[in-house]
Symmetry: D2
Subunit: 338 residues, 4 copies
Amino acid sequence: MTLQIGVIGTGAIGQDHIRRLTQTLSGAKVIAVNDIDAQRARGTIAKYELDAKLHEDPHSLIADAGVQAVLVTSWGPTHEAFVLAAIAQGKPVFCEKPLAETAAGCLRIADAEQASGRRLVQVGFMRQYDKGYRALREVIRNGGIGEPLMLHCAHRNPTVGESYTASMAITDTLIHELDVLRWLLDDDYISAQVVYPRRTRNAHAGLADPQIVLLETARGVRIDVEVFVNCQYGYDIQCAVIGETGTASLPEPSSVLLRSEARVSSRILTDWKERFIDAYDFELQAFVDGVKGRGLSGPTAWDGYAAAVAADSCLLAQKSGKVETIAMQKRPAFYAPD
Amino acid sequence: MTLQIGVIGTGAIGQDHIRRLTQTLSGAKVIAVNDIDAQRARGTIAKYELDAKLHEDPHSLIADAGVQAVLVTSWGPTHEAFVLAAIAQGKPVFCEKPLAETAAGCLRIADAEQASGRRLVQVGFMRQYDKGYRALREVIRNGGIGEPLMLHCAHRNPTVGESYTASMAITDTLIHELDVLRWLLDDDYISAQVVYPRRTRNAHAGLADPQIVLLETARGVRIDVEVFVNCQYGYDIQCAVIGETGTASLPEPSSVLLRSEARVSSRILTDWKERFIDAYDFELQAFVDGVKGRGLSGPTAWDGYAAAVAADSCLLAQKSGKVETIAMQKRPAFYAPD
Amino acid sequence: MTLQIGVIGTGAIGQDHIRRLTQTLSGAKVIAVNDIDAQRARGTIAKYELDAKLHEDPHSLIADAGVQAVLVTSWGPTHEAFVLAAIAQGKPVFCEKPLAETAAGCLRIADAEQASGRRLVQVGFMRQYDKGYRALREVIRNGGIGEPLMLHCAHRNPTVGESYTASMAITDTLIHELDVLRWLLDDDYISAQVVYPRRTRNAHAGLADPQIVLLETARGVRIDVEVFVNCQYGYDIQCAVIGETGTASLPEPSSVLLRSEARVSSRILTDWKERFIDAYDFELQAFVDGVKGRGLSGPTAWDGYAAAVAADSCLLAQKSGKVETIAMQKRPAFYAPD
Amino acid sequence: MTLQIGVIGTGAIGQDHIRRLTQTLSGAKVIAVNDIDAQRARGTIAKYELDAKLHEDPHSLIADAGVQAVLVTSWGPTHEAFVLAAIAQGKPVFCEKPLAETAAGCLRIADAEQASGRRLVQVGFMRQYDKGYRALREVIRNGGIGEPLMLHCAHRNPTVGESYTASMAITDTLIHELDVLRWLLDDDYISAQVVYPRRTRNAHAGLADPQIVLLETARGVRIDVEVFVNCQYGYDIQCAVIGETGTASLPEPSSVLLRSEARVSSRILTDWKERFIDAYDFELQAFVDGVKGRGLSGPTAWDGYAAAVAADSCLLAQKSGKVETIAMQKRPAFYAPD
């Protein structure tokens, strides 16, 4: 049986997921497409030679009897409404980040999903599907380093454009750590602080870069995340977990070891798309397999909510220079971790 | 369009490829199955819930009008006949190692394929699809280390069973290096020598383990391959290319870096199946995409022939203790590298 | 010419320096020894077969016309008086940490040294003589990573005894980073903050371990130092400097790379004495050579003062939980860096 | 007590040892100097401000009653005579490589030393004093990898001058491996073979570079040593020991890890003098300490003989292209390893 999928939003990420479903993954088919720009939707259908219906109205796509699952890859502010509509139709929905514009919006989705009685929502936090983070989590869970006490992390991009603002350091960059570290530790954040190191001269005039975000979890784990989006040298994601008896670090991507010109060296990626390319495949295959099989198991609406709450406090901390509380509602049993 | 595939042979590797085509890869479907043991073929159809016809006769499967491409994963001695039959039908065929029992058999296949006027055969040398070897080849081709002069390689297994014989060190173990190193260098072997180091006490009584195979290529590159199949500590594949201006080494598999018990360490795989698991997916997806698109581009019948000739000389060298010539026929233009 | 040295204090570190001067280094000789415990001084003379005079009174040793330079390795609270006495005699003096019990005491020494008109004091901050830190500093100075923006450091000991207190995390452990990082950056600290991660269960009941110390420098560099003295797995010193165009890390000690039991691994030291053993030799040889040659060039009385001021603020920050100012006096031209 | 040393030969290596004894090491003093060029000897005395007597005749230096030990750093062909003269005087002698021009000459020295009844000769094979090789040997001896079965080694220089000949690849380059590998394994060589890979275009016209030397030991260990003296990229010494249960590799020199320009990299040395600089200090300090204390323990006259015999067979193998026997006399009990 092939899962019949409707896609709302055919921008870059929407097209990428359509390509994935059509040319790489197994067991799914795009049979309906919508975009606010009908011309772009039509072009996408042609480009990927889809046997798919063009819906002018996203809600008609969601209601289409042939559509068994929905992908929401439209503009962020529209996510909440489309996800709620899919839940109302009882249809599984994969929604790109952010799940909703506000923490309240995320909660509304979580409430609707709980009311529906089963998991229908998977959020596009792909790092949970990265083999490296999975291996790191396994080491922690197997007791390889004892109880985690501290995390030292870095999220470095070679450069960002003029349109990148300080708050995007939280909502576009740190957001990935906010999701994946919580999942890594099975823990929740309780406070955030932001400190500003000396500015690099390679950032555009309006941007304080780098920033260091200090987080504290309910169990007392202290996390520092260096966010440095003009580091010049590469796209470099680091995560070291310091436990009671040892430390464990996120694997570096595999690379040829070169001895040349008086250096032993290996390559650092420069394009973020390459870094987690497999994770994008895995998350979407997991969605397809989950819908067809034993239910969804990936990032939940609650994960979307948790990331939103933490991001809000980090934004506050960016401005206040103080330690800000991260106050989440109590997690419903429905979202208890496996 | 979904490629309709018929599979001959439903042993371990056959079932693995069926699983791959059915649950992981994109664009193909198993619609016909044969095995010398019809019961096993039937069980496989049930296990993977295939919508496939059971053929009692492999040649009827090959002739089946619905079958657009054939997978040969049966017992080695049967490969040649099935591949030739597929060629006779003008059908693309993916054949597991060995392509034929003898170099002469490989040549017969190459002749038939040439007579057919287009590439129809892909041999299951999956290492050419390994990302690590691909990256290594790219470094060489881009001139990153100058012209290659020497290769130092190792093929280590943790342990082998009593049924493993000295000649299997060539035909089952070294065979992978024989294929991939030739492809890595775009070069041909001209001689082989085998030397026997001190025996490990961890091999069974009848087995000289380790062995070192010394190869020479037409361009004068010297290769040493350590074959050590009872190394105890892991499944470890190493390949260092020494060029005129630098050296390049096959990437180690990614792994969590652990600091624990006074050691910095990372994991070595112990199961060979894990080591090249992605390469198996890539080779078969490439076959499917090639058949559906711009033609086959993977390991050719000529590659199968070249590996067979080299293996024959290595077997001779194992016994003679001398430098043995590796004499291949001239490569037809049909098989000129891309 | 052999430099004639008098040593005050023959405890562990005193004896170690005597052994060094007598059996390892070049150009110096211990000719006078004092200890508050004359018996211990006598035993030391015998043990190292010194041709040295036993002084019952430390000040008589300092005044001894044969003594050309003084080593102060006595109990901390006595350092200031002995160093001042040596300066009064116009004799070069090597003093172990701490230079004085208080920042004010360090300043008194600096004042006396300036009044003497030439450098007479070298403080025993041996990390400035570690080859690794020296190489790191060279990379920074050569512009290899652009201007430094952040430092991520760790100081980990496998375990500490019951007598180790929280304040010792600053005065005995962090003190090394306080000295060496300032030297590495040619910069001064302006604030300190201490945060407490989840406690390890492997520390004794009274000790909050680990701690994270956050420092800020005059140029805006942000430093985080993880102090973790019961990390179990080894003695591990880490220092990564993040600059505008790249990062540079303190070299790991050289170690045999082992492939064994499904791990690639190298050794981590467990004994702090091994980690900087060469640096101890280099600092003392530099003192000897400096006295005999072109003057002292190692850690100055001002460095001793700077470390004392920073440590005082860190101790405050440990208790207040707040960001504490580090306010140093203006550096005299006498102590301008080379 | 200071050991009084006489030095014969004040060329580059002679001056380097004099500097070492005078400015770096402990417990020795150069009190007599000879060189075939008296002017050069005089200049050396001035340069290092030695309180030393100039001997016009080397044999008068050896006979000088004040001279307690002799350093032979003169032209190779003179070594044998000077070492024999020192033995005749009952004086300990440190002799640079080669101990003698021929294996027969080495034997004459060994015979004379045995006749003297105690160890008087230390040969300047400094690699036995390298910390890396020492650590590697310890791992092997402690059973960390089981019994050694194979060694894969490389000796790479960035470049050599026009005067470097093919035979120097053995006598000047490989000679270090011939000594140190034998010591590493506590084993003796029994055969040698040389194969010639594709020539690099970066060697001068007359030189076949690289070469691969294959050695076999009495216990059956197989060794391959790649000798590549125009590798361009650095001075790189590699040694991997493959044992029954694991592998161990010579540590890489410590280096700052840099992340810059899309590469993680560390430095490779380019100057051979830097690579083993500490080992030179250790070997000579060991000689001084041995003479003054419990006797010599470093490389023996027998080690000099063994290296000479092996080198002779390698030179033969270079020309014959065949496997050549390495036939040593039986080791006298006098030279039994510790």
